[in-house]
Symmetry: C2
Subunit: 470 residues, 2 copies
């Protein structure tokens, strides 16, 4: 099959409503962070699994690359196509149906293009909770969430995207459809095929639908902004709160003074909830069910014990939804504050929780001699996951900073993380941005196995070429 | 390499303490249910991952099959070798070290041969909980639990074995070692290789160690034995209890009158906790933290609401550990009561929770015309998982029953389960017993993918030959 025939056939499969004209396609060809500017031979939005399957069958026969894309909010360029002649961008945006909600089974069956916030709302309308939650939830899509095994703000309690899936429907590179949408809580009939595609970033197939787990909706949230004695105290406090609340901690977010300062400086609506400045903060939230006054009193008991243990130095507890939002703003809008400041070099790293203090201490000491920079670090300390970001010195543009010292600084951050037994990608994945890191930091056995899986499932290498191990 | 040289080399690798003499090996060559009588060229117990790796390298070079075995408590013959000339039984029993407990990270690193109950105790001694729990916990081992993705009594709250693993160490068929023991909560650096081996029943490699998730230890258990209006009422009640306790339900076990009768008849220590006989029971347990009187009062509020909704007809709530044990005995010892009665044909099936009522109703109606039998069904209704067992009519031996009508009855149970969108193996796996069912009930795409994975990871087919898709 020659390429132009194949492209014409694909356009016919999806119909006029399914083809995005080149001038409208520009936003889809750039990544969220504008690190990459891609190009594609064709940009299509199939309306159904059947159309997806037909498109893939044609691509397979013609050897055309297929780059699946959801809300295009990824941080690693994983959804950007890079070949104007031989790659097709497959946007799942039109597949946004919620197929079913099963309140007795606590499940929801959705198509890949359902926006995360819409999935959350649908669960809420059924009186239940879909707990996946992150800054991009207003535009990221379930298919992308699953393909990148998204993390976010409630992983400590509810797990990552992978943990919230009972089954998926996948269009395979050949155009076949693997349908595993039974929605069973237990199914040990052979290998766990779903797991292959969760976190594979579209390099093994296209996730087109999923059965998601729903959970009972918490009735009461308690949220506190805590000045803590240091990172070690923050880790101890998270463990204490988990033990003493019966694992009701839904979020435990660390914020360094430097990240808070950026927010206070760049966002006029931000206010420091405490009177005195501290170096280290923990945003701690529990999600519970039952009498609100009892939940509050238990939360205060935990904080009191932490105060007496010297872990907490000062605290502001939200007394209303407005106050809760004001506290969350200080954490959630750090990325925006960094952008307004001129942008940052991002590192999404994870170590064992107990090694967070050493990571922070050593990173500060070991980065200092490598070139001028400003630090902004914060993140999901309860998961051992920090966003360890580096800003250029005042007056230096991000691009110049990146070129001059970025490489050495980044290498030190990742080397240090590896020395502490950690990962260079906690939740953002690999995409095209971190391919070299994957090669460098994963063991030869792991890389060999990944390539064996890729070759077995996508022998022609058409799925998201050049990403991860492709 | 010729076979006898290879066997001699393997014996030298593990040393005298690592070779089990033929007459001592007999219990390891039979499966738990005594459905199969196996044979092996050699039975070895390596003492370390390094020895395992050396053994596999020799087997790989010589083309010898390797059958990994843990506590040998499986129900599907998955750990039984079937070739006196060309298969080596690899028992993990000697690898029973708890390598590390990390209380801040809530993890425990253990070797494959650690007995489940020992892992539970080690967690308890650290003030934490390893929640995997099942009847065989006194002899089953972590390696087997992970290789079969074991389920058990606390899946509703804590998930199956797969959900309780952060990482594994695996000896690959070639003798290479994949070490993924970082113990990170989040790690999106490439494909989720762990997932390949969890539930693969030793057909892709040998799990030698794992990092397990630990959880806060609940302080209070509340346990009730409830007479419910029927299976539908039981399902509604589980959903109600999950919603109204903030997901503190740790177990929800259905017991049919017929299973209870078997227990009352066959176990002298069993007592019916209620005055009047009912057809359907639910053993409901919540695990909570906080003031015991508040936990009890919340539990009673849920039961009261269920009573008013007509879901519950009578209830016995445990007031002591002794009473709790007496209630659990009625559920946990059903398999033993069936054995004492002469044994049963077992079906470990799962459907969506909401389809349990239809499954029970149709199974009773559709099995009746196929031949005389007695029913005993019970199980993890909160997971949609029933053990739907068939006993021979009084006076007929199990073997005769199995031969005469067993095939037709089993086929109907599985067909019905499939018609209702369910699985023929919820938690027991495939092994050698359910290979035909796997072929029959899985989709061609799923089977093709499973075979592709098997061929990619174990191209010489040495791992647990003849099991699952091997």
């Amino acid at each position: 099959v020659n390429t132009s025939d194949a492209l014409a056939r694909i356009a016919a499969i999806v119909g006029p409503a399914g083809v995005i004209a080149p001038r409208d396609a520009q936003p889809l060809l750039r990544d969220q962070r504008e690190l990459f500017r891609g190009e594609a031979a064709l940009v299509v939005r199939p309306a159904s699994t059947a159309e997806c399957a037909e498109v893939l069958a044609v691509c397979h026969a013609a050897g055309l690359g297929v780059v699946p894309q959801g809300g295009n909010t990824g941080y690693c360029g994983g959804a950007t196509p890079f070949d104007a002649g031989r790659q097709v961008l497959l946007s799942l945006t039109r597949m946004h149906r919620i197929r079913e909600i099963d309140p007795l089974g606590f499940t929801m069956t959705v198509e890949a293009g359902v926006v995360l916030a819409a999935a959350q709302r649908a669960a809420e309308e059924a009186g239940l909770l879909f707990p996946l939650s992150m800054g991009s939830e207003g535009s990221c899509q379930i298919g992308g969430n699953l393909s990148t095994n998204a993390g976010g703000l409630a992983v400590l309690r509810y797990g990552t995207a992978r943990d919230l899936v009972l089954g998926i429907e996948v269009v395979l590179p050949s155009g076949g459809v693997l349908s595993e949408l039974k929605g069973l809580r237990k199914d040990n009939a052979g290998y766990d095929l779903r797991a292959l595609f969760l976190g594979a970033e579209g390099t093994l197939g296209v996730i087109t639908a999923a059965v998601l787990k729903l959970l009972p909706r918490p009735q009461v949230y308690e949220t506190a902004w805590l000045a803590v004695a240091g990172p070690q105290a923050a880790c101890e406090l998270v463990a204490r709160a988990r033990r003493e609340t019966g694992d009701q901690v839904s979020s435990a977010e660390y914020v360094s003074r430097r990240s808070l300062d950026l927010v206070l400086e760049r966002l006029p609506e931000a206010r420091d909830p405490l009177d005195v400045a501290h170096e280290h903060y923990l945003l701690l939230e529990i999600a519970a069910t039952g009498d609100p006054s009892l939940v509050r009193s238990r939360f205060e008991t935990v904080l009191q014990a932490a105060f007496e243990a010297g872990e907490v130095r000062d605290a502001a507890i939200a007394d209303s939804g407005t106050q809760r939002a004001a506290l969350w703003l200080l954490r959630e809008r750090i990325p925006e504050a960094e952008r307004r400041d001129g942008g940052s070099i991002k590192h999404d790293i994870a170590v064992r929780i107990g090694r967070i203090p050493e990571l922070i201490e050593r990173a500060e000491a070991e980065l200092a001699p490598l070139g001028a920079h400003r630090l902004s670090f914060y993140g999901h300390i309860g998961d051992g996951n920090l966003h360890f970001n580096l800003l250029p010195p005042v007056g230096v543009a991000l691009e110049a900073f990146r070129e001059r010292t970025g490489g050495a600084l980044t290498r030190r951050v990742y080397d240090l993380t590896a020395e502490l037994g950690g990962s260079f990608s906690a939740e953002h994945g690999v995409g095209i941005l971190k391919r070299d890191e994957l090669e460098h930091y994963k063991s030869p056995e792991a890389l060999r196995l990944m390539r064996a899986v890729k070759a077995a499932l996508d022998p022609r290498g058409i799925m998201n070429p050049g990403k991860v191990v492709g």
